[in-house]
């Protein structure tokens, strides 16, 4: 059932990174509810003609980066970032940063910052569940255009064992045990969410819709 038709979306312009890791089916389902058929990006050439690329969540960082390097998609995504919009979700979001403690590996480096174990922030080893996010008054005072103020009244689904401390690209935070971590980021045309919009019912879908409507 398609609830929204994104008339501004050009056919074959929305891609999902597909290197055998990540919750591709759930994001595909979300896009199909928005009447968008995604292109699966398995090789650098698949990026040709795309305007938007989604890096999915669910996976291990070390394995993801190994696969990106072996397919040369790491460099291709960095090139794509100069003109296309990128949305990283959960693992895909963390991959946008410089370095991750998960597997002790370098990541794409499109955003400044590092990924650390969640256990260093929260009481638990893993952050799982639904939570509201809050705008973060960053020094740049910019707000992410994919997160309208109206969605901040609702909760989003988080599930992660690693996290990104608040940094220069942080636009939204989530509170854990009286501290806060990055819930969403934006720098230029690079966007990221630690939560899963594709699993967060209609309010999550509105985030994806706002992303694919960016031009």
């Amino acid at each position: 059932m398609h609830e929204v038709v994104s008339s501004s979306v050009r056919p074959n312009s929305i891609g999902i990174l597909h290197v055998g890791i990540g919750n591709i089916a759930a994001i595909t389902g979300s896009l199909r509810r928005l009447a968008v058929k995604p292109v699966y990006v398995e090789r650098p050439i698949d990026l040709h003609g795309l305007t938007h690329l989604i890096l999915p969540g669910v996976g291990n960082m070390n394995e993801l980066m190994l696969r990106l390097r072996s397919t040369k998609l790491d460099k291709a995504i960095m090139d794509f970032s100069s003109h296309g919009f990128i949305l990283g979700i959960c693992l895909g979001f963390q991959a946008l940063y410089q370095y991750s403690d998960e597997g002790s590996c370098d990541c794409l480096g499109l955003l400044e910052g590092v990924v650390v174990p969640f256990s260093s922030y929260g009481q638990s080893s893993t952050n799982i569940g639904w939570s509201k996010i809050e705008s973060f008054p960053s020094t740049h005072s910019h707000k992410s255009p994919i997160l309208a103020n109206s969605v901040l009244a609702h909760t989003f689904y988080f599930t992660h064992s690693f996290c990104v401390p608040v940094c220069s690209s942080t636009t939204h935070i989530v509170r854990v045990a009286n501290r806060h971590i990055t819930a969403a980021s934006n720098h230029a045309n690079i966007y990221g969410t630690q939560f899963h919009p594709e699993l967060s019912h209609i309010h999550g879908r509105s985030v994806i819709q706002a992303f694919i409507s960016l031009s």
Binding site: I21, N23, I24, A25, A26, T28, G29, S30, R33, V58, G59, N60, M61, N62, E63, L91, E102, S119, Q123, S124, S125, T126, N127, I128, G129, W130, S131, K132, T155, Y157, F158, T159, H160, S161, V176, H196, E198, L199, S200, H201, I202, G204, R205
Partner: protein, 249 residues
Amino acid sequence: MKQRLISTILLRDRLAYVSRRFGEYHYVGDPVNILNILSAYCVDEVMIVDTSASRSNHIDRFFLEKLRSVSDFPLAYAGGLREESQIDIVFRTGFDKIFLSACNSDLVRLAEYTQQMYGSQALGLSLDYSFDSQERIVFNPYSRKPTKHALMAYLLSLPAEVFSDILLTSVLLNGTSSGIDVDVLHLLASSGLRNPILLSGGLKHFSPSLAARLIEKNPHFSGVAASTSIFLQNYSYGSALVSLKRHEF
């Protein structure tokens, strides 16, 4: 972070059932329809337990894909996972998490594989237990018999750090709606485990006050899993769900 109310769908030959004390299966409906209803409820999370897969050693990939296609919420899977390739199939269909039984003879190998490929947030541990006199003992879901292992000792012998959620299911209370085993949380609180904890078995009502009481017992309490029939047959429970979803912890 709110505590989660997780709906469990027991799958048997592509139909949804509920069980009582791990026996007495009762048909409750078509799983696809149930997921559509739960989506309308804005359910927190759904766990699919495929008992057919446990018997046949076959993961029903096409049906799981169908279930994923109607679900815009987190989906976990349990049942019949004995090989790495089966785990790959489940994640390829779009499920976000698997639960491995604590009695799975290949638990450590499968858990390490899942952690390395999909991350520990995608891996849960399911531990069923019954009672011997006053002591909680591990129940083996494969043999459908209680073991001689004490619950806490067995749990602490497992590599808990590779798992995200730990789901504890009381066989005695399963499907009885006679109240959940609150005291087991107190037991776990002194164990030093830092995993989010889910309880299952016996739930009849879940209110913010109960959730607050459970948090007091153990700060790692993360939610409850309950049969889908509770969602479908008891409207007041739906109200409890709405009430819970408004409550912040």
